[in-house]
Symmetry: C2
Subunit: 106 residues, 2 copies
DNA sequence: TATATATGCAACTTTTCGGTTGCGCAAATA
DNA sequence: TATTTGCGCAACCGAAAAGTTGCATATATA
């Protein structure tokens, strides 16, 4: 039952929730209006995101506003970092290659 | 049965496979040695990663070497991008805040 | 050629996941 | 105070995922 951020963003609905909440804090009901499922289904996703520390909650009367903790995304960014270096190196190689064939033309 | 890159990297074993293969192309058997499961389980993960276009294969005799297609990770990187802007803005805000309190001191 | 090795594929099992339904509680409202 | 509204929690269900076992195929080797 212990989920991490990678599992949190694996589900398309959860990614959509994250994007929606990124623009502004929202209540479960407001969120559910954007999807074709029940409020409870959305609430379950919210719970998972909350447990994964992707969202934080703020109670306001009987409403609960969920807000994005964007820093959490850094964990994904950091993991991706190692591959970014690989593909950037490939670009460098491509640049070099293009430079070489340019040289040949001369 | 249609998986995307986010589901591909959701599984810890698959992430470990990706990292291992990032350093060098490997065969299923060589990979399986790194894990505490059967070869077939690893092979299943490889199949999923291959279908998701995260790996490419090269047959060499009776061995098959799998190699990382790091570019595929760009898709994740691009999705993360929008949140990177948020947390970087927060840094800017922090900078501004620090600048402000510095100004007050004067 | 007979055997060992490397691999993929298919069937089966167990666990997990995403969803629905139903309930209870607290806060707003009539 | 009685009712409505917003929410979380728990039980249940079907589908998908992850793993195991067994088998078939192709290549290397004795």
């Amino acid at each position: 039952m212990k989920r991490d951020i990678f599992q949190a963003i694996a589900d398309p609905t959860r990614r959509a929730i994250i994007v929606l909440i990124a623009s502004q804090a929202m209540t479960p009901n407001a969120l559910a209006e954007h999807f074709d499922t029940t409020r409870q289904a959305v609430s379950k996703h919210i719970k998972i995101l909350h447990e994964c520390d992707v969202l934080e909650s703020e109670k306001e009367g009987r409403e609960i506003f969920y807000k994005l903790k964007a820093e959490k995304m850094k964990e994904v960014d950091q993991w991706i970092e190692q591959f970014r270096q690989i593909w950037e190196n490939r670009f460098e190689n491509l640049d070099q290659y293009l430079a070489d064939i340019q040289k040949d033309k001369k």
